[in-house]
C-alpha cells in the first residue's frame, strides 16, 4: 500500500477491483465502510462475481476475468478526453512532459519497439527518454539536434494552438543550451487550459548545466535502470546496457508528439467505451457511469477530493498482472491521487505477514530491503554497486533526490550483518560469498526444474507447495521425482502427503522414492515477532500459547539445521565452505535465537562511533542501535539486516511494540502506534499531497507542508522527502525514482513487457484480442514446455472462463482442519450462473465436473444470479468461480466427505514476466454434469 488501512477512511471515492476486501480482509474493510459513513464516499466494485464487497458497493460492474487493463485503460482515456486530470500534478510530479526516444513504437499491433521473436523478449534500447533540455512543441529541427539522433519525423502537434508566446524561449532552451526559464509562460495545451505550468514564480536554478548534446554517451548514468531481468545481463555482449540520460528532454506544453503525455493519450485513445465493452463485457453505458463517477473527483479542475484504488491478487494473478497495477498507477498519477491521504494505489496483502516476507527478500531476485540479487557478471562489489546504484536522470531545472544513490551504504551494511567480522574492506565485505544467480528461481521455475529431474530436494516452510502453485498435477509429479522433501507445517498437508493425491494408486505409491521429513512447526499465535501489515506497519506480537507437543519455533528449526550444516562443513570441508563458515551467528542462544535479537540485527547498529556533520554533537556509539537508515555507512562501520526496517528497534526500544493511540490530526496517522517503514512514514510520497509551493491540495486533510519560517517540511506525517529541500528547488516527490517523478512512462528495463500497459488476453482466452488478434497474448509471458503444460482453446470445448478465489470463512489451506471453519463452509463448490445451470440442466447442489487442458475438478454446483453470462466481443461467454480452499487433507477430506482435487489441478503454469505470478484467474475450462 502506498497509504494504509486506516487512511482509507479519508477518501472520497474508492475503486475496488481485483480484490474482495470484505471477504478477504474483513477487518480492514472497516475503513472503506467508515469512509462511506463519515464522508459519504462512493464505492465502485468491479469483479467477475458479485461478491460480498459488491454487496456494500454503490456501483458494481461485472467484468470478464483478465480484462482489467482494458477497463482501466478506458478510464485513462475517459479522464484525458474529458479533461478530468490533475493538471499541475501531472506536469510537475510525473514524467508527462519528458520526451521519449525516437524510434519508440506503441503497440498498435501488440508489440512495442524492439521485439525479438526468437528470444521472446524486448531490446529496450528505445524504451528510453530523449536526452536534452527544454524542447518546444513546434521546433522539430532543434529537437533532432538535442536528441543527437535522426531528425524527428512527422509534424509535431499540428493541432496545438499557438505556443507562440513562449516559443522563442522554448526554442532557445531547446537549442541544446540549458533550459532554465522554461517553466514560465508555456502556452497551455488543450487539456491544460488553466495551467500556468509550475508557477511558483521563482524559476529554479539549473541543476547541472550540461548541454544536451553528448549526453547519450554517458554510459555511467542510470546504471540502476539498466538491470534487465536476471540472467539477461549475464549473457553479456559487446553492447553495454542502455541507461537513462542524466539530462532529459522535455516539453512543458505537453504538445510534443513524443512527450510521454501525448504518447499516453495516443496509447489509450484506442480504449474507447466501445472497445472496453467488447473486451470486458461491461456495457458501454455502465462503463461510462463508472468512469464519470470515478473521475468526478477532478471535475472542474477541483483538487480537493481524493480517490483511492484498492486491489489484491485479482490483479496480480495474470500473465500481465504487473501491468494492470501499472495502469492503475498511471490513472492515479493522472488524477493526482498518489501521495495523498485517502488516495494511492493500495495492494491488500493476503497473509498477515506477506508484506514482511517480501520486504525481507521473499522473492528470489531480491535481498532484504529490495536490494538486487547479484548475477555472475557482478565480479566484484564495485561492479555490482555500479550496476545497481542509479545515477540521477532528470530534467535540468528540477531537482531529484534519487534515494537509491545510497545503495552502497545499504548493501555494505547488509553484508556486515551477514558476515560480521569476516566482512572486511579487503574482501569486498564478503561480496564473494553471495550466490550469483544466473537464471530465474521463481516457484514455477523450481517445480519445472524438479519435474525435469534437475532439482533434487525442497524445503517447504509454511507453504503448501502442491496446493498453492498452478498445475498441481505437475507439482505432485515433480515431488515424486525429488530425492527428498522437508515440510515444516502445523498440519499434515497436501504437500507433506503428496503421495495421497487423487489418482495415485497403492501400487504407484510403492514406486515413489522421495524421502519426506515432516517438521512440526509453531502456529502464528505460538511465537512472537513482528507481522508487517499491508500498511507497512511492523507490529510486534506476543506469544499467546506455547507450541503443542514436539512443535518448535521456526527459528529453532532453522538454527539447528544451520548449525548442523556448518558443523559438516567444518568437519568435511567442501567446495566452498566460506559463506557458511563465515556467516555471523552471534546469538545468545545459537540453537534458538530470540526474535528480539534478530529484530535488533535487522534494525542495525553502529560498529564504530558515528558522527554526522549535519547533526553536530550527536554521536552514535559503537555497539548502539542506529536510529535509522540515514546513519548507515558504506565503509563497514555499520551493520543492518534490512535498511528499510532501520529505525524499528532503536536505542529507544522496540518501535514495533509501541501502542500509542494519539492521533492529533484525526486522520488516522497514529504516529506512535507500532512503526511503519520507511522511517515511520504512513503515506508514501506524501510530498505530492502539496502543490509545488508546498501547500496542501486540501487544507482539511493536511499531511505534510513546507514551513517557510523553519525552512523545512513538517506535518502530521513524517515527510517522505528531503526535509530541507525548499519548494523552489522543485525536487520531485517520488524520491525513489532517479527522475524524482511518478512514471507514467516506465523506461528501460523497469518492466519486461512494455513501458506502457497494453491489454493482452489471458493465455487461455475465449476470444482473440480485439485490439490485435495476431498478438493476442503477452508476448513475453513465460510458458513451460513439459508434457503436463498444456493449454486449451475454445475450439477444443474449453469455452468457460474460470477464476479462483478465497472465501471469508476459510484461510488458505489450513482451516479445513478446524471444525469451526468447516462448520461455516463445509465443502468445496463451484459458483455458476443460473443461465449456465439452465443450459446444462444442473441444479444447485448437484455434482459437476470442471476440466481444463491440465486436469479436472469435481464439486457441487452453487447456482447463483451473482454471476452472469457476458457478451465478450459479440460472443456469449460464461464465467465460473471456484474457491481454492480444499484438497485431499482436512477434516471433511479425511472423512471422505468431499471431492479431493486441489483447484489448482486446473490452473496453467503461465507466468507474469515481471513478478512471476501465475495466471490463477481467467483460464479456460469446460463444465459437465457428473
Amino acid at each position: 500500500m502506498t497509504n494504509g488501512w486506516i487512511d482509507i477512511k479519508n477518501t472520497d471515492m474508492m475503486l475496488i477491483m481485483g480484490g474482495n476486501p470484505a471477504e478477504n480482509h474483513p477487518c480492514g474493510f472497516k475503513w472503506p465502510i467508515e469512509a462511506k459513513k463519515t464522508r459519504n464516499a462512493k464505492m465502485i466494485v468491479v469483479d467477475p462475481r458479485f461478491t460480498r464487497t459488491a454487496a456494500t458497493a454503490d456501483l458494481f460492474l461485472q467484468i470478464r476475468a483478465g480484462a482489467d487493463i482494458a477497463f482501466l485503460g478506458g478510464l485513462i482515456n475517459y479522464a484525458i478526453e474529458n479533461n478530468r486530470i490533475a493538471k499541475d500534478y501531472v506536469l510537475n510530479y510525473t514524467n508527462a512532459a519528458f520526451l521519449v526516444k525516437e524510434g519508440f513504437k506503441l503497440p498498435e499491433d501488440g508489440l512495442f519497439s524492439g521485439f525479438d521473436a526468437t528470444g521472446a523478449s524486448y531490446d529496450k534500447e528505445t524504451w528510453n527518454y530523449e536526452a536534452g533540455g527544454s524542447v518546444g512543441p513546434k521546433v522539430e529541427n532543434t529537437v533532432a539536434t538535442v536528441g543527437g539522433g535522426a531528425p524527428a519525423t512527422g509534424t509535431p502537434n499540428s493541432g496545438a494552438t499557438g505556443a507562440g508566446a513562449s516559443s522563442s524561449a522554448n526554442g532557445k532552451n531547446a537549442a541544446g543550451v540549458t533550459g532554465d526559464q522554461h517553466k514560465q509562460g508555456q502556452e497551455p495545451s488543450k487539456n491544460f487550459e488553466k495551467t500556468a505550468p509550475p508557477s511558483n514564480g521563482k524559476p529554479s536554478t539549473p541543476a547541472a548545466a550540461t548541454s544536451g548534446k553528448d549526453l547519450m554517451q554517458s554510459g555511467a548514468g542510470g546504471g540502476y535502470q539498466s538491470q534487465g531481468p536476471v540472467g539477461a545481463a549475464a549473457q553479456g555482449g559487446p553492447k553495454p546496457p542502455p541507461s537513462l540520460p542524466p539530462n532529459i528532454a522535455y516539453d512543458f506544453s505537453l504538445q510534443h508528439e513524443r512527450c510521454v503525455f501525448q504518447l499516453l493519450k495516443k496509447q489509450f485513445s484506442r480504449y474507447t467505451p466501445e472497445v472496453v465493452e467488447r473486451i470486458t463485457g461491461i456495457k458501454k453505458e455502465d462503463f461510462l457511469k463508472a468512469a464519470d463517477l470515478f473521475t468526478s473527483v477532478r471535475k472542474d479542475g477541483d483538487m480537493k477530493k481524493v480517490a483511492t484504488i484498492i486491489y489484491a491478487v485479482g490483479w496480480t494473478q495474470h500473465t500481465f498482472g504487473t501491468q494492470i497495477i501499472r495502469t492503475a498507477a498511471i490513472l492515479q498519477l493522472l488524477l493526482g491521487n498518489v501521495g495523498r491521504a485517502g488516495g494511492g494505489v493500495n495492494a491488500l496483502r493476503g497473509h498477515s505477514n506477506i508484506q514482511g516476507a517480501t520486504d525481507m527478500g521473499g522473492v528470489y531476485e531480491i535481498f532484504p530491503g529490495y536490494l538486487k540479487m547479484p548475477n555472475p557478471a557482478d565480479t566484484d562489489l564495485a561492479t555490482y554497486l555500479k550496476r545497481t546504484t542509479p545515477t540521477v536522470s532528470k530534467v535540468d531545472a528540477w531537482d531529484s533526490f534519487n534515494y537509491w544513490t545510497n545503495t552502497p551504504k545499504f548493501m555494505v551494511s547488509f553484508l556486515k550483518a551477514l558476515y560480521g567480522d569476516a566482512a572486511k574492506k579487503e574482501n569486498d565485505f564478503g561480496f564473494g560469498y553471495l550466490p550469483k544467480i544466473d537464471r530465474k528461481y521463481s516457484y514455477t521455475e523450481l517445480f519445472d526444474y524438479m519435474y525435469q529431474g534437475k532439482v533434487k530436494g525442497l524445503f517447504a516452510f509454511g507453504m503448501n507447495a502442491v496446493a498453492i502453485g498452478p498445475n498441481s498435477r505437475k507439482n505432485i509429479d515433480a515431488l515424486k521425482k525429488a530425492d527428498w522433501l522437508v515440510v515444516c507445517e502445523i498440519y499434515e498437508d497436501e504437500t507433506s502427503e503428496f503421495w495421497k493425491a487423487p489418482g495415485i494408486s497403492k501400487e504407484d505409491m510403492k514406486n515413489i522414492g522421495t524421502t519426506v521429513y515432516r517438521l512440526p512447526g509453531a502456529g502464528f499465535a505460538e511465537k512472537d515477532g513482528t507481522f508487517v501489515n499491508s500498511a507497512r506497519w511492523l507490529q510486534w506480537k506476543y506469544v499467546a500459547v506455547p507450541p503443542p507437543g514436539q512443535a518448535q519455533l521456526d527459528q529453532e528449526i532453522l538454527a539447528r539445521i544451520f548449525l548442523k550444516v556448518r558443523e559438516l562443513y567444518q568437519k568435511e570441508g567442501g567446495k566452498f565452505p566460506d559463506p557458511v563458515l563465515n556467516l555471523s551467528w552471534s546469538y545468545t542462544n545459537p540453537k534458538n535465537p530470540s526474535l528480539s535479537e534478530v529484530a535488533k540485527e535487522i534494525n542495525g547498529r553502529a560498529l564504530a562511533d558515528l558522527t554526522d556533520e549535519k547533526q553536530p554533537g550527536v554521536t552514535i556509539k559503537a555497539g548502539q542501535q542506529v536510529p535509522g537508515f540515514a546513519w548507515l555507512r558504506d565503509d563497514g562501520t555499520t551493520m543492518c539486516g534490512n535498511w528499510i526496517y532501520s529505525g524499528s528497534w532503536t536505542e529507544a526500544g522496540a518501535q514495533s511494540q509501541r501502542r500509542g493511540t494519539e492521533d492529533p490530526s484525526g486522520m488516522g496517522v497514529y504516529q506512535n502506534w507500532a512503526w511503519s517503514w520507511p522511517a515511520n512514514r504512513r503515506v508514501l510520497y506524501n510530498r505530492a499531497s502539496c502543490d509545488i509551493n508546498g501547500k496542501p491540495w486540501d487544507a482539511e486533510r493536511r499531511q505534510v507542508w513546507w514551513n517557510e519560517s523553519q525552512q523545512k517540511w513538517v506535518g502530521n506525517d513524517v515527510p517522505d522527502f528531503k526535509a530541507d529541500s525548499p519548494p523552489k528547488d522543485h525536487m520531485g516527490p517520488f524520491i525513489m525514482n532517479p527522475e524524482g517523478i511518478g512514471r507514467i512512462f516506465a523506461p528501460l528495463a523497469a518492466f519486461a513487457d512494455g513501458p506502457f500497459p497494453e491489454h493482452y488476453e489471458p493465455m487461455e482466452s475465449p476470444i482473440k484480442n480485439p485490439l490485435h488478434p495476431d498478438q493476442s497474448n503477452n508476448p513475453v509471458a513465460k510458458k513451460y514446455k513439459s508434457d503436463l503444460d498444456k493449454f486449451g482453446t475454445p475450439e477444443q470445448g474449453f469455452n468457460v472462463v474460470c477464476t479462483t478465489y478465497r472465501l471469508t470463512e476459510h484461510y488458505h489451506y489450513w482451516t479445513k482442519n478446524n471444525p469451526m471453519n468447516v462448520q461455516l463452509v463445509p465443502e468445496p463448490f463451484v459458483e455458476i450462473s443460473a443461465e449456465l445451470a439452465d443450459e446444462m440442466g444442473i441444479r444447485g447442489g448437484e455434482k459437476i465436473r470442471v476440466s481444463s487442458a491440465r486436469g479436472k475438478y469435481e464439486a457441487k454446483a452453487m447456482v447463483t444470479r451473482r454471476i452472469k453470462p457476458m457478451m465478450i466481443d459479440g460472443k456469449k461467454t460464461h464465467q465460473i468461480g471456484i474457491p481454492i480452499h480444499w484438497g485431499y487433507r482436512g477434516i471433511k477430506e479425511d472423512e471422505g466427505k468431499t471431492a479431493l482435487d486441489p483447484v489448482n489441478m486446473l490452473s496453467p503454469s503461465a507466468i507474469d514476466p515481471n513478478a512471476y505470478t501465475p495466471e490463477f484467474k481467467g483460464f479456460l475450462v469446460k463444465v459437465e454434469k457428473v
Partner: protein
C-alpha cells in the same frame, strides 16, 4: 460493583400474581443496532457467538448458499441470512444477522406455560432459564421470528441470550465485540435508535448519496410487538421480507394472548389438582423419540396444553411460515438443492475448535464474573448441561 450491572426481572413466564422483586430497581434498556447496509456477511459474529457460548460443533452441508445453515439452531443462535435479489436489473445481496430480537412484548414468554422458564429483564433482555423449561416448545410457535430451537438431547429450548452474562458484567455482547466493520452497535435503546435514525437519514439523503440514494431506507423496530431490543437499518424498510423473511408487522399469535389470560390459569389450576403427566410431551411436535430420557418434570397440565394445541393450528404464525415458504419457493430455481443435500443436524460434541476469542478478553470477562453474585449464573448451568449432552 455497580448496581447498574444487576439484571432486574421485569416479567416471568407462567407465573401468577406479582413478579417477585419486580420494579425495585430501574435499569436502562439495552439494544443492539445492526446496520444491514454495512454488514459484509463475514460471520465473525456467528463464530463469536459459538465461541463465547461454547457451543458444540454442528455438522453442516452444502446448500447452494453462503448461509451457514437454513435457520438458527439450539446450538447456533446467531445466523447471517443471505438473500439474493435483483431489482431494476441490479443485483442486491442482502445479509441480515438473524437472532433473537428481544421483543418488548415477547411472544415466546407469553406462550410459555412453565414458571420462570423465560424471563424478561428490565433492560429488555429476554432470557431462557433452561432448568425451568419443560420442553413443551410453545415458545417456538409463539415467536414471530422463528427463534427458539429445541434440543432433542436435553429436551429444552435455547436461543440467544443477548449475552446477558456479558451484559450483566458490563461488557458488550460477543457478536458486537467481534464485528469487524462496525455494523453492529450496542448501547441504550435510546442511543441506538438515534444512531440508527441518523444512518437511515444519511442513506435517504439525496445530497449525501447522489445517484445512490436509498429513499426507502429506514429503521426496523416493529411497534406491533412494542418494539424490539435488536433493531435494524434496512436499505428498504418497506420490504423487510426480502431480508430472509423478516416480518413487516410481527405479531404474537392471538391464541397466545388468549392462552395467557385463559389457559394458563386453567392449566395451573388443574396442575394444582395434580393432573400432571410428563408423558404428555409425546404429543408435542418436538417430542423426543428417544423416550426414556426423563426431562426434569415441571407443570404439565393436559387441558392447558390441549387447549393451546387447538389454537395452535389457527395461529397466524402458521400463515407466516407459509408465507416464508412461498417466498423461498419464488426463489426456488436459485436454491435448487440436490435430493441428498438436505442438512443433517447431527451433533458432534467431542470435537473442540481451536480458535477462540482473544485471551485478554476472556480474562477480563472472567474477572468481572468473579464478584457477580447478584445474578444467578444460569449460563454456567446451561453449559454444563450441554456438555453432558
Amino acid at each position: 460493583m455497580s448496581d447498574e450491572r444487576v439484571l432486574q426481572i421485569q416479567r416471568i413466564s407462567g407465573h401468577p400474581g406479582p413478579v417477585p422483586g419486580r420494579g425495585t430497581q430501574r435499569a436502562v434498556e439495552v439494544c443492539k443496532y445492526i446496520d444491514v447496509t454495512t454488514c459484509i456477511g463475514c460471520k465473525a459474529c456467528e463464530v463469536a457467538c459459538v465461541e463465547w457460548n461454547d457451543m458444540p460443533f454442528r455438522e453442516t452441508t452444502f446448500d447452494n448458499t453462503y448461509q451457514t445453515m437454513p435457520s438458527t439452531e439450539w446450538n447456533y443462535w446467531n445466523l447471517i441470512k443471505f438473500a439474493e435479489h435483483e431489482r431494476d436489473g441490479s443485483m442486491m445481496w442482502l445479509m441480515r444477522k438473524d437472532q433473537c430480537m428481544h421483543c418488548e412484548d415477547p411472544g415466546c414468554l407469553s406462550a410459555c406455560p412453565a414458571d420462570g422458564a423465560i424471563v424478561q429483564y428490565q433492560n429488555g433482555i429476554v432470557d431462557f432459564q433452561q432448568e425451568n423449561c419443560i420442553g413443551c416448545g410453545y415458545c417456538i410457535s409463539g415467536c414471530p421470528f422463528d427463534i427458539p430451537k429445541f434440543n432433542q438431547a436435553t429436551k429444552k429450548v435455547y436461543k440467544c441470550t443477548l449475552c446477558s452474562d456479558r451484559v450483566g458484567a458490563g461488557l458488550e455482547p460477543a457478536c458486537i465485540k467481534a464485528c469487524p466493520t462496525g455494523c453492529l452497535h450496542f448501547g441504550t435503546k435510546e442511543d441506538m435508535l438515534s444512531l440508527a435514525g441518523t444512518r437511515a437519514a444519511q442513506l435517504k439523503s439525496k445530497e449525501a448519496q447522489g445517484d445512490f440514494v436509498m429513499p426507502n431506507a429506514g429503521v426496523y423496530d416493529p411497534q406491533s410487538i412494542g418494539g424490539t431490543h435488536v433493531i435494524y437499518v434496512l436499505h428498504d424498510i418497506t420490504k423487510p421480507e426480502l431480508y430472509g423473511g423478516l416480518p413487516a408487522a410481527p405479531v404474537i399469535p392471538p391464541s397466545y394472548t388468549i392462552w395467557k389470560w385463559l389457559a394458563k390459569p386453567t392449566g395451573l389450576a388443574m396442575a394444582m389438582f395434580g393432573v400432571v403427566d410428563a408423558r404428555i410431551r409425546r404429543a408435542r411436535p418436538h417430542a423426543c423419540p428417544a423416550w426414556g430420557t426423563p426431562a426434569p418434570s415441571r407443570l404439565h397440565a393436559i387441558p392447558a396444553l390441549v387447549c393451546g394445541d387447538l389454537l395452535h393450528a389457527l395461529a397466524p404464525v402458521r400463515l407466516r411460515h407459509l408465507l416464508a415458504v412461498a417466498l423461498s419457493l419464488a426463489d426456488a430455481h436459485l436454491r435448487r438443492r440436490a435430493d441428498d443435500a438436505l442438512p443433517a443436524p447431527l451433533v458432534r460434541p467431542l470435537l473442540r475448535h481451536r480458535v477462540s476469542l482473544p485471551v485478554h478478553q476472556l480474562v477480563r470477562a472472567d474477572d468481572l464474573d468473579k464478584d457477580r453474585q447478584q445474578v444467578r449464573p444460569a449460563h454456567e448451568r446451561v453449559r454444563l448441561e450441554r456438555r453432558e449432552a
